[in-house]
């Protein structure tokens, strides 16, 4: 079960958000999706979640173009606050349970408990960080085949970041793949085993991190600086 991206392109008017992007997401891996702002990471994630239509090429799941149905297998955690304003933390869980067969309310409650999210509180009254935790708890309570996590640590304190990272590591298995987009390169380096670098809407590199360390003696952060600034570290 591979999530394949084949020559994917996305244009917004004259702006080319993605150009000829091709790579595969294989189960059993945790991927870091790295690149500066506006490099196309979020556009690719939204395309893989069937939220953005490609201008050319596309993303395939089990050989078929992604569509609404494939969202049953692909969990997407967006950066945006998207819950309905009338929802409580508990109602968010119920909503996910209503639509996703792989959602575990018990796991959601456990994650909310760990992250100290009050179940009866309205989501709109939560702080930015607490809302981010709620989004992460909802996404990580699914037993999906692919997790696309767009900036899951944005606006979250260090301890909560650890909790989310732990939930990611607990969820990761040989049967699923996790893709984490983040600017905190050093922080996710120990958790991921592959890295895909985006620059100007293109894939600049697709690397195995162990190989990177063994062959080039470089850390993920070093490689990031090299690829994005063109400087040899």
């Amino acid at each position: 079960m591979t999530l394949q991206t084949k020559e994917a392109e996305k244009n917004y008017g004259r702006t080319k958000a993605l150009q000829g992007v091709t790579f595969d997401i294989e189960p059993g891996n945790i991927y870091a999706l790295l690149g500066p702002n506006g490099s196309g990471k979020t556009t690719w994630m939204k395309m893989a979640a069937a939220l953005v239509r490609p201008s050319a090429g596309g993303v395939l799941w089990e050989g078929e173009p992604v569509c609404a149905k494939t969202r049953s297998d692909i969990a997407y955690l967006p950066t945006e606050d998207f819950f309905y304003s009338w929802m409580t933390v508990e109602e968010v869980g119920k909503y996910f349970a209503d639509f996703f067969a792989d959602f575990s309310m018990d796991r959601y409650r456990a994650l909310c408990g760990q992250m100290e999210l009050p179940e009866k509180q309205k989501v709109r009254t939560l702080s930015t960080g607490m809302r981010a935790k709620c989004r992460a708890a909802a996404a990580m309570s699914r037993a999906a085949k692919v997790y696309l996590l767009d900036e899951p640590f944005n606006g979250i304190d260090l301890l909560a970041r650890d909790q989310i990272m732990n939930s990611i590591l607990e969820t990761s298995s040989p049967d699923n793949a996790v893709v984490i987009s983040s600017h905190l390169v050093e922080e996710i380096e120990s958790a991921v085993n592959r890295a895909i670098f985006f620059r100007d809407g293109r894939v600049a590199a697709d690397l195995d991190i162990e190989e990177l360390r063994a062959r080039e003696g470089k850390s993920l952060a070093d490689k990031y600086r090299e690829l994005m600034q063109g400087k040899e570290v």
Binding site: L51, R71, E80, D81, F83
Partner: protein, 253 residues
């Protein structure tokens, strides 16, 4: 679809509750006015003196109910339209478009909610009107008046049996207009997204569609017959299919 429909109603809950409360207030006033009415008042010769309080309660109550039954229902049935506009133009759309339901189901739930609100309103307000007029007739004239109520001619129709289909036709026409609004919103979020003057172009397309349907409608006899109903049903189906297709193929969040 059932779950989508459930959440569509949840989104409109406040508006529907407000409508229900206003209807209840109007109904209570009307019933009180009826109860306070002197027995057999309409049998007296000349201009009947209803008395200050009953007349006030009947007037305000019936006014309230008329407003609820028309503008209230119209506003409530507009809720899915507003919700779709918000969802296609804000982050909240992710709530709807992250779930494994295709655009036809998403849109279908909104249209179905509209149909249920309109059908429910026609039925509920129709029955309420029948009940209120019956009670008023029994109180003001006597039990014998009930048979006359059944033969009542509320809108130039021969009987209540003719009035309800007329009301249904109004609801169907309103549904067509709502469907045009949904189509326009999807059009703005798809082909015209980010384009200058998108709103005005969509508005012109809207007006054109309304005029087209009205023109087709006028070809039927008086616009209230089977032909008119078929034209409206056809328009609703076509607009639903076109909107669903645009949402499925051309909307990016």
């Amino acid at each position: 679809m059932t779950k989508l429909l459930h959440y569509e109603f949840r989104k409109s809950r406040s508006a529907l509750l407000a409508l229900l409360v206003c209807t209840a207030v109007g109904e209570v006033m009307l019933l009180l006015g009826t109860a306070l009415l002197p027995q057999g008042i309409f049998l007296l010769r000349g201009e009947p003196d209803l008395g200050g309080m009953p007349a006030f309660l009947l007037l305000v109550g019936s006014g309230f109910l008329s407003l609820c039954g028309t503008f209230g229902v119209m506003l409530c049935s507009l809720m899915p339209v507003w919700a779709l506009r918000r969802e296609l133009n804000s982050d909240q759309g992710l709530m709807l478009f992250l779930v494994p339901e295709n655009s036809f189901a998403v849109l279908g739930a909104k249209v179905l909610q509209n149909v249920l609100i309109l059908a429910g309103s026609v039925l509920a307000y129709g029955l309420l009107a029948l009940l209120d007029v019956s009670l008023l007739a029994v109180r003001g004239i006597g039990p014998d008046a009930l048979s006359e109520v059944i033969q009542f001619d509320p809108a130039g129709s021969s009987t209540w049996g003719g009035f309800l289909p007329s009301l249904g036709m109004v609801a169907l026409s309103w549904l067509t207009i709502l469907m045009i609004c949904l189509f326009s919103i999807v059009l703005q979020a798809s082909f015209f997204r980010g384009k200058r003057g998108a709103f005005w172009i969509s508005l012109l397309i809207d007006l054109f569609l309304i005029l087209l349907i009205l023109r087709a409608d006028s070809l039927s006899s008086g616009g209230t017959g089977i032909f008119s109903a078929l034209i409206n049903c056809g328009a609703v189906v076509l607009l639903y299919l076109a909107s669903g297709w645009m949402m499925e193929r051309h909307v990016s969040l």
